[in-house]
Amino acid sequence: MLKHLISIELKKALNLRFFLFSLALILLPLITILPIINGSYVFHRTIDVHEQLLSSSPIPLLFPLLLIPLYAGSYANEKKDNYLQYVMPRTKISDYVVAKGISNALITFIVAYLMIYIPFLFIQYIDPMINYIYYETAFMNPVSIGTFEVIAQESVHLYGVVYSLWVAINGVLYVTIAYLLSICLNNTFVALSIPFLWWFIIHFVTSVLGLEKFSPLYTVFPFAIAAQQFWTIFIPFIVLILFIVSLIFYIKRSRKIWEN
């Protein structure tokens, strides 16, 4: 039943607007930013290009804000428009809500993954055939790309996959928080904006306090900061997970779904 509900949700989500928006997220950085950085920065390795592409793009700054419009607000809309009352006689509403949450996570995961991975594929595999990017070969002085450099040392492809996964998983956490908050709070605007506020404000606060190695921004996009020990990136991650767990707990306890 859950699978079936998820497939309905996916069908609901995948409309033209969604495709245009995700295509923009996935391709725009490549199309608009690559030409700008190509030639104005010194690149030695493919991952340097990938790193610069991301850090020159607005993706790190706006990260949760780019993913939340995909589908996180759908519960709030259906509640507002009284649609849920028709769902209730047809299926268990708790299954429905879970299916919505999973679809939201799934969609976000794919889009966020591709948002990082497609540029990587292009830079790593397609560009060598067309030689568009200009690499400095005269002198070799590679600069570390940050915390994930250790993986890149192992294998560049592994880096591409692991890093894209890392970003995608974090994206999932942020949209899930937005989704759960939209169930808890009556004010949809506040519910959907909180993940971004968290992202941005905690970044600001950690920067001011000299704790930037724990900033959400720097742990998901660790480029503008010196390489940190690997465990540091899991601190904000764990905070998010704890937050999600307590939200789920709260929703179950307060029976928020039924008494709306």
Partner: protein
């Protein structure tokens, strides 16, 4: 065995009493009308029968099974409660399609047929958020009957409908009843109730009293 049975129900909201120790049962294949002044608790009654809200005391039995033991909603009910609901940025047909997909019992043809029955053209490409209130109401009726639901709980089904549509829907409900459906409806319009209902209940003094 009654189809729906309310046993010693009490319900109040923050000091506002709506029902007090009231019992009533509804039989199969009849049309029931519920009347009562505004705020007397007609919608709340329907919500309780659907299991959306719980009575403070007493139990509600559908087909002999008590609701809310594990928060299950009764099966095969078609409902409209309060204002109509919809997915704002989909068309009417898509709205019904998504709802039908959940149980996957009916085809597109059936949906189109139902839309025609309630007086909406399935080819309308407007999004539902731009529908008029009456159109939304028709869509609400369509979703309540499209899957051949056995029991229909219709809260003010004639709200916002024009005269012709009211006639049409009345006929539709009659014929559904002839097919063996049980219908519970509320209306503030006495004519609707008189024309349609086999039995009528009025909410007074926190009880449901039968007046027909």
């Amino acid at each position: 065995m009654s189809l729906i049975e309310l046993r010693n129900i009490s319900k109040s909201y923050k000091g506002l009493t709506l029902f007090e120790n009231t019992s009533v049962s509804f039989e199969k294949e009849k049309i029931y009308g519920i009347i009562g002044h505004n705020g007397s608790g007609k919608s709340v009654l329907f919500k309780m029968i659907c299991g959306f809200v719980f009575p403070d005391h007493g139990g509600i039995f559908v087909n002999g099974e008590e609701l809310g033991k594990n928060r299950r909603f009764p099966e095969n009910f078609g409902i409209i409660i309060d204002k109509p609901g919809y997915l704002g940025d989909k068309t009417g047909f898509e709205n019904l399609r998504y709802l039908a997909d959940i149980q996957n019992k009916i085809s597109d043809e059936k949906i189109k047929e139902t839309l025609e029955k309630v007086g909406l053209h399935y080819t309308i490409k407007q999004k539902v958020k731009d529908y008029s209130l009456g159109m939304k109401q028709k869509l609400a009726i369509a979703q309540a009957i499209m899957e051949d639901q056995e029991v229909l709980l219709l809260d003010e089904p004639f709200n916002a409908l024009d005269v012709d549509s009211v006639e049409n829907i009345r006929g539709l409900l009659k014929s559904l009843n002839n097919e063996g459906k049980t219908i519970l409806l509320t209306s503030h319009n006495n004519e609707d109730i008189e024309v349609l209902c086999d039995h009528v209940f009025r909410i007074r003094n926190y009880k449901l009293e039968q007046i027909k």
